[in-house]
Every structure is written in structure tokens, then in C-alpha cells.
Amino acid sequence: MKALRRYVDKIKPNFEKGGKYEKLRSTFEAFETFLFVPDTVTTRGSHIRDANDMKRTMALVVIALVPALLFGMWNVGHQHFLALGETTGLWQSFWFGFLKVLPLIVVSYVVGLGTEFFFAQVRGHEVNEGFLVSGILIPMIVPVDIPLWMLAIAVIFAVIIGKEVFGGTGMNILNPALTARAFLFFAYPGWMSGDQVWIAGLKHGLRAVDGFSGATPLAEAAAGHLGNLPSAWSMFAGTIPGSVGETSTIAILIGALILIYTGVGSWKIMVSAFGGGLIMGLILNLWGANAYMQVPAWEHLVMGGFAFGMVFMVTDPVTAAQTETGKWIYGFLTGIMAILIRVLNPAYPEGVMLAILLMNVFAPLIDHYVIEANIKRRLKRVKVTA
């Protein structure tokens, strides 16, 4: 550690004003502050001072994502060998999935950070660390077989159109990871939906054994094959086809606990989002016009990407509502919209992505009315005493 610090200090002058690599200053700064907590503090204005800066916050989210990621890697292998009708050990499945998922992660980070560094250099501001989380989220919400060049284009699109045009990290309206997914979903639907894309190899001509269906539970339900739904336990545990990191509700709940314990993710949003989903499910149960509507409400919470979205995506502090009351409303409506789109719109088997993006757009409006209501309430109080 000391040697590293000495080395960083040694090369530092090169990047300062007048140094050899002055132009690359923001790049250098990004790496330095990533390795070491900077000793500079804000001097003016009122700021909350905390040892936990943005880079450390982001790192916590990444840690919270690790259980889901590891499980996802194993599941990729598990599903692949299941399709072949082979039984394999834990490590063989994991290793297969690891090799499949690693390129996605590498491409996502290299391309995404490359774009961020490029913009930081051109605009001369420091590199924002916002992509640390998006970079790991993106590989976890795509099908494992997505071609790497498509992923790269989606990441560039998400970073530029989703974030940089609004002014970079902290200014974006839409969640960048979901922007990337929405881009892929609408640009290359053949690689993002159907029953071929979720199992590694099927799209490339791998022949599955008879009777094996690569469709996700949501696709089965949307098609009306409710008898084909896997057991609730396997949906909860996550041994089902789906995007890389979204399948296991257990692993996601572990991540949720980490987020809530460290205070990085808002428990209010998570609770109200799950509540919203549950209530919408119950309303649909009462309606019960078709078989899909009669799926037990709680089962919706473990199907598809609901849990993943409601734990890791809705709680994104930048795009979520900021006020405390607003968080309840925002989470609740996201949960409702997700189940509503999922069940009632046959074109989109999974509504979580669109629901979150939609509510991202409404978050500032919710905040606005919460603040207005607060102002009105306080004004009233003033009048009474005066």
C-alpha cells in the first residue's frame, strides 16, 4: 500500500498544471481517488461531511450486487447444462457461467468508463464514478448471449444520451443501466426476448433436449401456459431462465439487506415498491378476468426482474424521488406500474424496466408536489399563530 502511495505521489507532478500529461489530469485524478480516499475537504457552504464519499458508496452497491452476480453466473451454467440434459457439479456450472458473463462485464466497464473518461477529458472536469455501479448492473440485466458489440453500443448510448447530455453523474433523469437495457430491447428485440435468448448457446444453434423450454416464467405466463410455470420455490431460489443477475430472489434479498444496513439504498422505496406490486397483484386477482390475472399476487414478486429492479434500480439515489414522502409515493407507483404493464400488456412480458423508467421521469414532479404541500402546510401554521 505504501509503495503504491509513493508511486502515485511520484508520478503526480506529471499531471499537474505544466506537467507532461496535463491533458490527462482528470484521468489521473480518477484513479488516484479510486485508490485512496482524497484528503481534500469542502471548505465553503454547508455540506454533510462523511468519510463515505461517492466512490465508497458506489463500491458498497457493487458489493451488494455480488451475491446476485455469483448466483447468476452459476445459473447460466446450470441452465445451459440443463438444456443439454446433462447433470454437472456446482463448480463446473459456475465456471461455465463465469466464462460467459466475464466478457459482458469487461465490455460494459471498458466501453462505459472509456466513454466517461473521454467526456471528462474533453470537458475538463473530473471523472465521475457513476459508472462503477451501472457497469456491473448492465451485464446483470441482459440475456447472457447478447452479442458484445450490441452491448457496447447500448453502453455508449446509455452513457452519452442517458447521462452526459444532462451534465454527467448526478444530473441524469433516467437510470443509465435501464437506458442501456431499453435501448437493446427496442433496437434488437430478437436478442432480448423470446425463449431462445436466455440460455447460453440456444441462439447459436445448440439443440436442447426434448421437452426443455428456455422460456422465462413471465413469457410462459404471458403466453397463457400457466401450467408450465416453475414452482414458486425455484422462482424464489432463482433456478429459472432469465437475465443474468435477476433470477434469484434470495441473492437479491441478501443485497437488499446490505443496502439497507449501510443506508445506501432507501428502505422506504423498497418496501413501498414491493407493497405496490403486491397490491396491484391483489387487485388483478380480484378482477381475475383471465388465468394470468389469477396468478397469486406474491408470486409476481419473485418472478422475472421485479425483485432485482425494486432493490437495485428503483433505489438509485439520483433518479429516485428525493423527499421522504415522495419516496413512498414513487416506490409504490413503480411497483403498481411494473405489475400492470407485465400482466395487461402482452407486448412487454416484463414491465419492470418500463415502469422504472416511467417513474424516473415522474420523480421530480412527485418531489415538487411534496415540497409544495409542505410549504402550504407551514404557511397555514404561520397564519394560525399570527
Binding site: 452479442p147 458489440w149 450490441m150 453500443i153 444520451i161 447530455v165 435501448f183 427496442f186 433496437a187 434488437y188 428485440p189 430478437g190 436478442w191
Partner: protein, 216 residues
């Protein structure tokens, strides 16, 4: 009365044509006519036909309104402008139906909607009502080209990336892009991408032409 008669292409008149192409572009600077720019830019051919139609309509109505400008009672000027535009649009629509039926079908309702295109009303109201026919004519050419240029740029990217063709010619297929795993981008065909493309054009334009950036 016209002692110092202006030359036909004085620098002032030329500016009427060049300004709308860049620093006063109807789409990217005034943000008018966005609706049709999103709707008919999926393919190059309809976009070009649309650009020409708008140019014809705008040229004629600008000149007509400019010639009538002294005799139009101010209180009913909007309705008079609308009548002129509407008659021109119907003419253009009929011509398209007669001689370019395919394109006319692709453009569908959007030829008729030229009537409501803000660029036309804007030019008639803001320019033709207060200027002589010749400058009005140049102004029409300038603004319609400014509109058309953006339309064609957007349509170029949308057709190339969305369908892999240009004027229906399969460019990407000919150079063998599909063989190495390339696929057309379905999002480019959807309207949101047209909006984003226009946004990127505005971004590029402002990066080049700093005078356009508003002060904070």
C-alpha cells in the same frame, strides 16, 4: 420611389437564405416543425419529397401573402394565411397522388399536416406580412432548405442504421456487414430515435456555433 434599388442578391438578401441554414435554423434553433421531422424521416425518399413539398408550399404562399400584405385586414390575417397555405397544400397533395403515389401513401396524412406546420405560419406572419415579395421568396427558400436539410440528415441516419439501406439500396448488405453478425437497429425506426437524432444535431451545431448557446 425606389431610387437606390437594391441588387437582387444583396448581402442582406443572401442572409435570408443562409441564416436559416445555420444560425437561425427552423428546426434546430427555433424548434418548429418537429412533428413532421419525427414522423417522415424513417426513409430518405419520403423525407426529400416532404422537404420539396414544404419548399413549394412555403415559396408560393410567402410570395402571395407578401403581395397581398397591404390589403389583408389585420384582424383576419391568420385565416387568410391559412386559406393560402391550405390551397397550396391541397395542390401539392394532388400532384403527389397523381405522380408519386407510393411516396404519397408513405407520407399519408403528413402532407395535409403541412398546413399546421409552425414553420409556414411563422414565416408568413413574421416575414411575409412585413416584406416585399422578392425577399419573402428568398426567405421561403432559406427556411424551407433549413427544414429540408435537417430532415434529410435525420432520414439519412435513420434509414442507414435502421434499415441498412439508402434510397432503398441495401448498402450494408452489399458491403457484407450482415455476414459478420451486424444487425439493423430497430430503435432507429421508432420516433424516439428521431428526436434523439435531432437532439444530437442540435448538440453538434451548438458545439460548432457557440453564439447559439443561451446565457445562463
Amino acid at each position: 420611389m425606389n431610387k437606390e434599388r437594391e441588387p437582387l442578391f444583396s448581402s442582406k438578401n443572401l442572409k435570408l437564405i443562409t441564416d436559416p441554414l445555420n444560425s437561425n435554423n427552423p428546426i434546430t434553433v427555433q424548434v418548429l416543425g418537429i412533428c413532421s421531422a419525427l414522423a417522415i424521416t424513417v426513409k430518405l425518399k419520403p423525407a426529400i419529397v416532404m422537404a420539396i413539398s414544404v419548399m413549394v408550399v412555403l415559396m408560393v404562399s410567402n410570395v402571395v401573402i407578401s403581395a397581398l400584405r397591404k390589403s389583408i385586414p389585420p384582424r383576419i390575417r391568420i385565416i387568410v394565411q391559412l386559406v393560402v397555405i391550405a390551397s397550396m397544400v391541397i395542390l401539392v397533395d394532388q400532384v403527389l397522388k397523381a405522380f408519386a403515389y407510393d411516396v404519397s401513401k408513405q407520407l399519408s396524412v403528413f402532407v395535409g399536416l403541412i398546413i399546421t406546420n409552425c414553420i409556414l405560419m411563422g414565416r408568413l406572419e413574421a416575414f411575409a406580412m412585413g416584406n416585399k415579395p422578392w425577399p419573402s421568396f428568398l426567405d421561403a427558400i432559406g427556411n424551407a432548405s433549413g427544414y429540408g436539410v435537417i430532415l434529410i440528415i435525420v432520414a439519412f441516419f435513420r434509414e442507414l442504421l435502421g434499415s441498412g439501406t439508402l434510397f432503398g439500396y441495401p448498402v450494408f448488405q452489399k458491403i457484407g456487414l450482415y455476414n459478420i453478425g451486424y444487425e439493423n437497429n430497430g430503435l432507429m425506426i421508432l420516433p424516439p430515435m428521431a428526436l434523439i437524432t435531432i437532439g444530437i444535431i442540435i448538440w453538434v451545431q451548438r458545439a460548432k456555433n457557440r453564439a447559439l448557446i443561451e446565457e445562463k
